[in-house]
């Protein structure tokens, strides 16, 4: 009783193999165009891969191995889709929207409405039942869309950035609902938010250029990223290099750091990565000696707002960043092109083998 | 009523005038073959003239002339339409220049076995005729009354052409059209003349328009139509003597 997929879409350079356990939720993360939506569309049957097989709880979704050609139509797959937009049918009221799935799978009108009412109660939207979708807020509509997807009793729930279009007030409420809903359920959720991955998923899969580049339990991947993308997700600076006695030699840069979470020091001379948060990086206009042991000159390439901090990017392609307050940025009159010192406490730099 | 006949107007000489320039002739659609032929001969006989022909249903032409269409001559397929214009004083004295009688046309091979007018009333025979509002329909009605036969047409068209079209396409078993139409349709139809047709003779009058731009040429063309040369062309197209 598992979900198993192997699929390739040649034109998009997409080639992914994935399994999801019975009550597991997998978060799919990756840059734009990495193939995240392609993955969901292939699973849902909205896109025809060039080759591969997929099965869900023993049923074959497709099997395109040479010689065979099994293809289950989208409506027979039991893979309900929840997109960024709620896409509630605008001509049906909330109750009929939620009853759509049960009706389509042959339930009587009465039974479908009963089921819809149960699911509406479950997402705490019973009082919306006779409204039209146009009369709902974005958050309410997405809440109803969740109920509608669940009412279809899917074997696998597919969520494509379900909170991306919600405003800052509606997103946390839906996140809380999804946390509850996904707990005992098999699901794949595409997200750009680390918080979503942490709160909702058991496992994270990083998709890059149509292929899985890293996967593992969510917290592990985020705490100990092995790839630049995962480090970026976790909002961490990431430097690859060679492990030294006290830290890492990355190009011309010698970093002091702490060998991470291992019994005993790491073997020197091996390839490794140094990871540290931008918030641990201070910016100085001159080389002031102090307690932090890492201090090196850099050229500012960019300044950009980041939350309510200012992210100062530096290094050849902006690969190093420091987060400072807007007031500090204004005080130092920082500007791109300026030569400044990045200062980092050795205790904030984690070194691991790569 | 009509003011003249062919005898009065026919001088036998169509070209002895000082006519020149363009003359615009509005003629009933059924006159197309005859008048196209005649226009060439008139231009040859009257160097410097140029005949422009406009064909349409007689009542269309009446409406157009009433609304100021630039006609010099009007040739109608019936006297009723000519009367409308004479009544309004828009044309000069009309002359009857031709007659036309109805005939039966059937698709080649007469699949329905039609031999005469009465056969048209047989059940199962698809007859197409003109509506009584138009001249050919009025003529049909007259023959029906004369012969005591009642037709049950499958369609009552507003023009002879539409009747002929239904027969040439093989859609109808028989149609009632003018002799001239049967002639112009050639081998596409078989004509079955019937004696009762003589009971309803349709008379064609012609007149110069009163405000003609080219009055001399208009008069000359009217005279030419009534001349022996004109009458010969009409006879060739199947028209009878007025």
């Amino acid at each position: 009783m598992t979900f198993r997929l192997e699929a390739a879409v040649v034109q998009r350079g997409f080639d992914v193999s994935l399994q999801v356990g019975p009550a597991e939720t997998v978060a799919v993360m990756g840059p734009n165009g990495a193939g995240k939506s392609t993955l969901l569309n292939v699973i849902a049957g909205l896109l025809h891969p060039d080759s591969g097989t997929a099965e869900l709880d023993g049923r074959t979704l497709f099997d395109l191995a040479a010689g065979r050609g099994t293809w289950t139509a989208p409506h027979r797959r039991g893979t309900a889709f929840l997109a960024q937009e709620p896409l509630l049918f605008p001509h049906l009221n909330v109750l009929d929207n939620v009853a759509f799935g049960p009706r389509s799978s042959g339930a009587s009108k009465h039974a479908a409405k009963e089921s819809a009412l149960r699911w509406l109660a479950d997402v705490e939207a019973t009082d919306l039942q006779s409204r039209r979708p146009a009369e709902l807020s974005g958050g309410q509509a997405q809440r109803v869309a969740v109920a509608r997807a669940l009412a279809a009793d899917p074997g696998l729930l597919l969520l494509d950035e379900p909170m991306a279009a919600l405003d800052i007030h509606a997103a946390p409420l839906l996140r809380r609902l999804l946390k509850r809903v996904l707990a005992g359920r098999r699901a794949i959720i595409i997200t750009h938010d680390v918080l979503d991955a942490l709160m909702l998923a058991d496992r994270v899969v990083i998709l890059e250029n149509g292929r899985i580049s890293e996967e593992g339990p969510t917290r592990e991947v985020l705490q100990r990223p092995r790839s630049r993308f995962a480090a970026g997700l976790a909002g961490l600076n990431f430097l690859p290099g060679q492990i030294t006695e006290h830290g890492l030699q990355a190009g011309g840069l010698s970093l002091y750091g702490q060998h991470h979470d291992l019994p005993g020091p790491l073997p020197t001379g091996q390839p490794g990565v140094a990871v540290f948060p931008p918030s641990a990086v201070s910016v100085f206009l001159s080389e002031a000696h102090g307690s932090p042991r890492n201090a090196f000159p850099v050229t500012i390439t960019d300044l950009e707002p980041h939350g309510d901090q200012i992210r100062v990017r530096a290094g050849e392609s902006g690969q190093l960043s420091a987060d400072i307050t807007p007031a500090a940025a204004a005080d130092l009159v920082l500007a791109p092109g300026m030569r400044v010192y990045f200062v980092i406490k050795a205790g904030a730099v984690a070194i691991s083998p790569s | 009523g009509q003011g003249g006949s062919a005898g009065q107007g026919g001088t036998g000489d169509g070209g002895a005038s000082s006519a020149a320039g363009t003359v615009t002739v509005f003629a009933a659609a059924s006159l197309k073959t005859a008048f196209t032929d005649m226009a060439g001969k008139f231009e040859a006989a009257n160097p410097g003239t140029d005949v422009t022909l406009s064909f349409a249903g007689s009542s269309d032409l009446v409406t157009q002339i009433t609304q100021g269409a630039p006609a010099d001559v009007f040739a109608s397929a019936d006297t009723r339409n000519m009367d409308k214009l004479t009544g309004e004083g828009l044309v000069g004295e009309p002359w009857n220049f031709a007659t036309n009688t109805l005939t039966i046309v059937v698709p080649p091979g007469t699949p329905a076995g039609i031999t005469g007018f009465r056969d048209l009333a047989r059940s199962g025979v698809k007859v197409v005729a003109c509506a009584s509002q138009v001249p050919c329909g009025a003529a049909t009605k007259a023959i029906e009354q004369e012969t005591g036969t009642t037709l049950n047409p499958v369609s009552e068209e507003s023009s002879v052409t539409d009747v002929l079209g239904k027969v040439t396409s093989g859609e109808a078993d028989a149609g009632l059209v003018y002799v001239t139409d049967a002639k112009s349709a050639g081998a596409k139809v078989e004509e079955i003349p019937f004696p009762e047709a003589a009971k309803a003779v349709n008379t064609y009058p012609i007149a110069a328009v009163r405000n003609a731009r080219n009055k001399p040429a208009a008069d000359a063309f009217v005279r030419f139509v009534l001349s022996t040369e004109g009458q010969a062309a009409l006879a060739a197209a199947g028209f009878g003597k007025p």
């Binding site: 849902a44 049957g45 909205l46 139509a73 989208p74 409506h75 027979r76 797959r77 039991g78 893979t79 309900a80 889709f81 997109a83 937009e85 896409l87 049918f89 605008p90 001509h91 049906l92 759509f100 799935g101 009706r103 389509s104 799978s105 509608r148 997807a149 279809a152 899917p154 597919l158 | 249903g57 009542s59 269309d60 409406t63 698809k126 197409v128 509506a131 509002q133 138009v134 047409p153 499958v154 369609s155 009552e156 068209e157 507003s158 539409d162 079209g165 239904k166 396409s169 093989g170 859609e171 109808a172």
Partner: protein, 261 residues
């Protein structure tokens, strides 16, 4: 500068309004002229004569039937054109639009060559016991032929605007293609379908040339209101104008209804 706010700037040069007025007059003046010509004293008797009422009734009945036929054939065509992707799609659209630009008389001839007794399908139909020519069926066919493009064009536009997103979601919820069509696609494009249907009805109501050529003209069977008007002109121009006005009134009502929203 959101759309809502910038909408208050129209940027239409003043002279454009003058030219637009001239353009509107080209259409409005003829209507005014026609109304001016109506013999109002005789209007009611002319319009309510037996032949007029028969023709109006036949027109309404056949137009309704051809509108239904336009929907039955046009919805699939619009769907296939808007959603499908197959070789020859562009040629098909070009062909479906043809009756829009074809002189109706030519259309009538072509229909005769197809469904007539000696036409392409004539013998097949005759064997099947179907006689189309000179029947009310022929009127409906002729009207459908000329009115179909109006429905297809309106609906294809609506389908393209609606996009396929809702259909995809419905499918993942377990709805079969037929269920999706019935419960999602059609309800979504209902306004486009309605305005297309109303335009088709109006075009059917006004159809003349193809009907005359293909179906003939028999009171109560094939003589629709436009054919009756044509015939009335032979004897009584007043009656023709009065009947035309009835047709114009129905057409205006129908177009206004179509563009209500």
């Amino acid at each position: 500068m959101t759309a809502r706010k910038a909408a208050t700037y129209t940027g239409i040069p003043a002279w454009i309004y003058a030219v637009a007025a001239a353009g509107a007059l080209l259409v409005v003046l003829p209507m005014v002229a026609m109304v001016a010509k109506v013999n109002w004293a005789n209007f009611i008797p002319l319009v309510t004569s037996e032949s007029s009422l028969t023709a109006l009734g036949l027109s309404l009945r056949t137009s309704a039937a051809s509108t239904v036929l336009c929907i039955v054939l046009g919805v699939p065509l619009a769907l296939v054109l808007a959603r499908g992707s197959f070789p020859g799609q562009r040629v098909l659209r070009s062909l479906v639009l043809l009756p829009l630009v074809l002189p109706p008389v030519v259309g009538g001839i072509a229909l005769l060559y197809t469904f007539g007794r000696q036409g392409l399908l004539g013998r097949t139909l005759e064997v099947a016991g179907l006689q189309i020519a000179f029947s009310t069926t022929a009127v409906v066919l002729a009207q459908t032929f000329v009115a179909l493009p109006f429905l297809v064009v309106s609906l294809e536009g609506a389908l393209r605007i609606a996009g396929p997103k809702y259909e995809a979601v419905a499918a993942t919820l377990g709805a079969s293609p037929s269920t999706v069509l019935r419960r999602v696609t059609l309800p979504l494009v209902l306004p486009g379908l309605a305005s297309g249907a109303v335009l088709s009805f109006a075009r059917s109501l006004g159809e003349f040339g193809a009907t005359l050529t293909f179906a003939g003209s028999l009171q109560g069977v094939t003589r629709t209101l436009p054919l009756e008007i044509y015939l009335q002109r032979e004897t009584d121009a007043d009656a023709a104008v009065a009947l035309s006005l009835v047709l114009v009134a129905v057409a205006v009502a129908v177009v206004a209804l179509a563009y209500r929203s």
